[in-house]
């Protein structure tokens, strides 16, 4: 079962996430990234089938910043290929919690589909 945290209601109110939002959260799960790196990560993980456009990306980022899912960070992870003007984004605790909650929600859906034979037993 999912753990209940004090903001459970606030988290649940954000679900379901837009696909772009979920992809950005996933992209930032292992390290801080700048905008273009997010686009590349999403494309790589989906074998190029999802390519976020700059407009969609930054519109999502703006909203996620306002909702407190991500923050801008001043730390530069890889100084050698860093560009001064670039902004890096990092998941917040809330962002992590929301991503987990969304993943759990999706898993629940898959489990239900599997029970009725709509999805393979195990991959």
């Amino acid at each position: 079962m999912r753990e209940r945290n004090p903001n459970a209601d606030a988290i649940m109110a954000m679900l379901p996430l837009l696909p772009a939002t979920f992809h950005i959260l996933v992209a930032l799960a292992d390290e801080d990234r700048h905008g273009y790196a997010i686009i590349q990560d999403v494309a790589a993980r989906t074998d190029g089938s999802i390519r976020l456009s700059p407009g969609t990306l930054y519109r999502s980022i703006q909203r996620m910043l306002e909702d407190g899912l991500i923050v801008e960070t001043d730390e530069r992870p890889s100084p050698e290929d860093d560009d001064e003007r670039r902004r890096y984004y990092r998941l917040t605790t809330l962002g992590t919690a929301v991503a987990k909650a969304e993943a759990a929600r999706l898993m629940d859906l898959v489990r239900m589909a599997r029970a009725r034979g709509l999805a393979p037993r195990k991959v």
Binding site: H34, G35, S53, G55, L57, Y58, D83, R87
Partner: protein
């Protein structure tokens, strides 16, 4: 290219992310190798930008709306005042615009209405005189400027049906009239040339309203016979619902059937001409042709057609100059109200902006960006004006039926102005402009303050420089309300002046009604005399009746009579401006019934018969004009086809309107109206003088008329007072509307001055407290506030008086001799405006007086 696309995003977003987006896009482009791929990339980017830019704008709008609604809920007094102020301004302007648009601008409800013209004869002194049938026939034969050209005359007939006989208004028209108007019946067929021929079966078209009310909307009406004035007509069709030709409320149309006798007299003018211009002919060209043809007609008929031209005007231009002035004045007044409302709104927003300066400064300091703050303010202003606009539109829609009295009856349009897309568009545009223009004002304010200053000063200071601007706005409001008040005052004085005019007859205790005698049943004197004698003797015998009589047309009624040339030498003369008099036939006792003094000689008598010598009673103005300084009694003159002897002179009465001069009148005994002649002049208006309430006699009179002839309808029942009031109705409405505008303006002005001073006091509480601690008395503080209020109103009133004087001169045509500089109107307007200013400053002054110096200083 991409940078240009980025412009579609809100500036705040672009500033934040634009550069990174451009970088990301540049990389994508670098990674794309093929031309096809490049094209696909561009397509994707354009679509992406459109979707996301719209989305972000929408996000911001939603945020701003949420924020606006929250702040407005926190300040309900502001929200309510602002919305009301806007609603009044937009409502007044929209209502006035729909009326002016309806009467003056909108095309008449006919296809290609700009090609429709009215034409008439033009003689010295009579710029638009009806046409004689022979002149109409000749002009029609020769004219080449028109696609169709027809003639009509007003018609009023009795319809005898199952219920009480009905008096119907409409027109008799030639077949070409409907062709010229390009209107077809909604059911049945229009008139054709075959209907116009003498001896053709009588045919009639009925209005939609008549069809619904009297025939229950029965579809089998076409082909059904109806009895009109005793003659059987066949209904050939029903006209569309919005067909109001020749004027509003027309119920019935018959085919005009000329007989050869109609073409004999070129001085018997009773036709109105209407025509549709050919596509390639202008009004001016048609005018030139018609003048030329009129000139040609003078040669064979030098006497009858002496100095006779033809006037051609657009059907649309049939609105009188007075109606036009009235509507423009009304619209001007409405714009005045709107400007006052806008000034008020600006003031409200400014005061609010000053109070919220700290909040704005904080938001800008927090990085919101000026553009975001501007957007927020605009949204707020648009929400307020939008709500006000919707309310104003509803207000305008609700008041339109009241304004319908100002729609001239002479136009072929419906009574109540309808709101169409253009009117709603006008209101919306007005709302938008108001919202944007006046929403920005507080921001200009912000631009002058720097964010940091706002923070440092806090909300304490009122910003004395801004108060100058707000003061100017209040002055403008007072100025505009003074102008409106003066206009109202002038029009009220004009109304009083008219009401004080002596019509020349006694108004009280008199019942009037119309019994139109159907022709040809009453075309002989014998038939008519039987009717009049029977009805009048029975009415005179009623209890509570002191006298009763008949006349062709009552003074100040809807029919203003007909004019004939006066041949004082005893010879027939052609009609000129200065040789005509009005003709009316009367029964004995008419002058006594209306209380018109007989100055010389005698009343008409029953003995004045066709077999005796033709006699006439003339008005004092007749003597002044035609027989100055001479003995009138016994003189003979030629008039309406006979030489008549003057046997009496009566005092003048107002015939064609209280404000017009009393034109020369000739009253002829009704027993000297020959058979089958001047049937239109056969007396039909009844006047009954009562000893008590005249309306108590109605049912008895109705019974008497019905007994005399069940087919004669009793219509237009009213007291003589009501009849005369009808002459003033549009003036009274106009005054009420303008009065309402002035009242609104005054209230808005009061709100404005109250808002300004209330704000000034709360901004200066600290200063006032310190002054009082230093020994200022409460009276001094109140005087300080009062001085401010009085100086503002003094400037406003002064400017208002100057402006009102200038615009009053322009209203002169409506003022019937009241001077546009009427001292009373100006004094009352100035006093009212000053009183409002004082009332508006009362509360702020008292509040200032109640400031407690101890509390204020402790707060420091």
């Amino acid at each position: 290219m991409y940078r240009w696309l980025l412009r579609l995003y809100p500036a705040s977003f672009r500033n934040e992310y634009g550069r990174e987006m451009a970088t990301a896009f540049a990389r994508e482009r670098r990674d794309t190798r093929t031309a096809l791929g490049m094209a696909a990339l561009w397509l994707r980017v354009i679509a992406d930008t459109c979707v996301n830019a719209a989305g972000i704008h929408w996000d911001i709008l939603r945020q701003d709306l949420r924020y606006t609604l929250r702040t407005l809920r926190r300040t309900p007094a502001f929200a309510l005042t602002a919305v009301t102020v806007v609603a009044l301004g937009i409502g007044a302007t929209t209502a006035a615009f729909s009326l002016a648009d309806f009467v003056l601008i909108r095309p008449l409800p006919f296809p290609e209405a700009d090609r429709l013209v009215r034409f008439s004869e033009e003689r010295p002194g009579f710029p638009r005189m009806e046409l004689a049938p022979s002149n109409y026939r000749d002009l029609k034969q020769m004219a080449t400027s028109f696609e169709a050209l027809g003639a009509y005359r007003g018609l009023s007939v009795n319809l005898v049906g199952a219920r009480q006989p009905l008096r119907l208004q409409g027109a008799a028209m030639t077949a070409d009239v409907l062709a010229a108007l390009a209107v077809r019946p909604m059911m049945g067929r229009p008139f054709t040339a075959a209907d116009d021929v003498a001896g053709a079966p009588a045919t009639a078209l009925v209005s939609y309203a008549l069809w619904q009310q009297e025939f229950g909307g029965d579809a089998s009406i076409v082909g059904r016979p109806v009895r009109l004035d005793g003659e059987v007509y066949t209904v050939i069709g029903v006209m569309p619902r919005d067909f109001n030709f020749p004027s509003r409320g027309a119920q019935l149309w018959t085919a005009m059937r000329f007989v050869p006798a109609d073409f004999v007299d070129r001085n018997n003018n009773y036709l109105q001409g209407i025509a549709r211009l050919r596509r390639d002919v202008s009004v001016d060209a048609a005018r030139t042709e018609m003048s030329m043809l009129a000139g040609r007609l003078q040669q064979p008929y030098p006497k009858e057609n002496e100095q006779t031209g033809v006037s051609v005007i657009r059907l649309r231009d049939g609105v009188s100059q007075q109606s036009r002035t009235l509507l423009v004045a009304l619209f001007g007044a409405a714009v005045c109200v709107l400007l006052i409302a806008c000034a008020n709104l600006t003031n409200l927003l400014l005061a609010r902006a000053i109070v919220r300066r700290r909040e704005m400064a904080v938001r800008i300091a927090l990085g919101a960006g000026r553009e975001r703050v501007l957007r927020q303010l605009l949204t707020e202003s648009l929400v307020v004006t939008g709500a006000g606009g919707v309310l104003g539109l509803a207000l305008a829609a609700a008041t339109l039926p009241i304004l319908s009295r100002l729609v001239p009856t002479a136009l072929p349009i419906a009574e109540t102005p309808s709101m169409d897309v253009r009117v709603v568009g006008f209101a919306m545009a007005l709302t938008m402009v108001t919202g944007v223009a006046f929403g920005i004002v507080p921001l200009l304010q912000h631009h002058r303050d720097r964010a940091s200053e706002g923070l440092r000063e806090g909300a304490r200071s009122g910003g004395s420089g801004r108060e100058g601007m707000r003061g100017a706005l209040v002055v403008a409001e007072i100025t505009a309300s003074v102008v409106l008040l003066v206009m109202c005052g002038l029009l009220l004085r004009a109304l009083w002046t008219i009401q004080a005019i002596d019509p020349g007859f006694r108004l009280e205790h008199t019942l009037t009604a119309r019994t139109s005698l159907p022709m040809p049943k009453y075309e002989t004197l014998g038939a008519r005399t039987g009717f009049y004698d029977g009805v009048l003797s029975e009415i005179r015998a009623l209890r509570g009746v002191s006298s009763a009589a008949y006349i062709s047309f009552l003074p100040l009624g809807d029919m203003r009579g007909g004019i004939f040339p006066v041949g004082i030498s005893g010879h027939v003369e052609s009609r000129r401006e200065d040789n005509v008099a009005f003709l009316r036939y009367v029964t004995p006792g008419f002058f006594q019934t209306l209380g018109i003094p007989i100055l010389q000689g005698r009343d008409v008598r029953d003995a004045d018969h066709l077999d005796g010598p033709p006699v006439a009673i003339v008005s004092a103005s007749f003597v002044t004009q035609f027989l100055p300084g001479q003995e009138a009694l016994g003189r003979r003159f030629n008039f309406a086809a006979a030489n008549r002897e003057i046997v009496g002179v009566v005092a003048d009465v107002k015939m064609r309107g209280l404000t017009r001069v009393s034109e020369p009148q000739v009253y002829i005994p009704h027993r000297q109206l020959p058979d089958r002649t001047y049937e239109w002049f056969a007396p039909k208006d009844l006047a009954v003088r009562a000893t008590g309430d005249p309306l108590a006699l109605v049912s008895a009179v109705r019974a008497i008329v019905q007994r005399a002839d069940a087919e004669v309808p009793l219509s237009d029942i009213q007291t003589l007072e009501q009849l005369v009031d009808g002459d003033l109705a549009s003036r009274v409405t106009q005054l009420r509307v303008l009065g309402a505008f002035a009242g609104v303006a005054l209230v808005l002005g009061g709100i404005g001055i109250h808002g300004l001073l209330a704000f000034a006091v709360s901004a200066r509480v600290r200063e006032i407290g310190i002054r009082m601690a230093l020994g200022a008395r409460r009276a001094d503080v109140v005087a300080m506030i009062a001085k401010r209020s009085l100086s503002l109103s003094a400037v406003g009133v002064g400017a208002g008086i100057v402006l009102a004087y200038t615009s009053g001169r322009w209203l002169q045509s409506l003022l019937v001799g009241v001077s546009p500089a009427d001292g009373m109107a100006f004094a009352v307007a100035a006093a009212l405006a000053a009183a409002t200013a004082i009332a508006g400053s009362l509360r702020p002054a008292l509040r200032a007086a109640r400031v407690d110096p101890v509390t204020v200083i402790r707060l420091e």
